[in-house]
């Protein structure tokens, strides 16, 4: 299955892109996505436990993903 990964702000700078499409086998979790992203060039600058949202909702590491899910890796927020 394919999962869409969104990157923002400093994380997008770090990875040089704001969007990835990654393939996983069924049953993959948020943690699996993070592991894959962290193996990419430059990604060692990401914090060990970044915030993640799945389909626009904050999600835990163990959340199981479905094909087409949108996984966003979210830098510390700074609105206001």
């Amino acid at each position: 299955m394919t999962v869409k990964v969104l990157l923002f702000a400093s994380y997008a700078d770090t990875l040089g892109t704001n969007q990835l499409a990654l393939d996983f086998s069924s049953g993959a979790t948020v943690g699996d996505v993070l592991g894959r992203v962290r193996s990419m060039p430059g990604a060692d600058a990401l914090p060990p436990e970044p915030l993640v949202a799945v389909n626009e909702r904050y999600a835990r590491r163990d959340q199981v993903l479905s094909s087409g899910d949108e996984v966003a890796i979210i830098p510390p927020v700074a609105g206001g």
Partner: protein, 146 residues
Amino acid sequence: MRSAIVDLPIDTAALAAEVSRATNGATLLFIGTVRDVNDGRSVTGIEYSAYRSMAEREMADIVREAREKFATTDIVVEHRLGELAIGDASVAIAVAHPRRGAAYDASRYVIEQLKKRVPIWKLEHYVDGTREWVNANGQHVAEPAR
């Protein structure tokens, strides 16, 4: 009750008018503005960006929560994105309520939750031409050279 991410200047007086109602005795308007100094560095402007669809969703959730907790539907929030200059309003929250205590509490709830949960980021521009991502805890991450 309304929340929005906007790209144009926020009309703060219009927000206050939007929540006014004959049953309310207190209106509270919070305006967050771009400061000229942050963490000791001279700022010339800030570029706000967001995970826009999620930011809209979180803001709507926060407003709904405030409605439940403080028993008023008279809550309007706008957050602006894009290039803002010193003094520009980045966020405005208007709350009206029959009682002032609840108006203060609801307004405070909305801004504190917004700062914790709504995926918006700011890239500060400094007098020396550098730019850095700033997070709510005051940590800075230098933007890579472009």
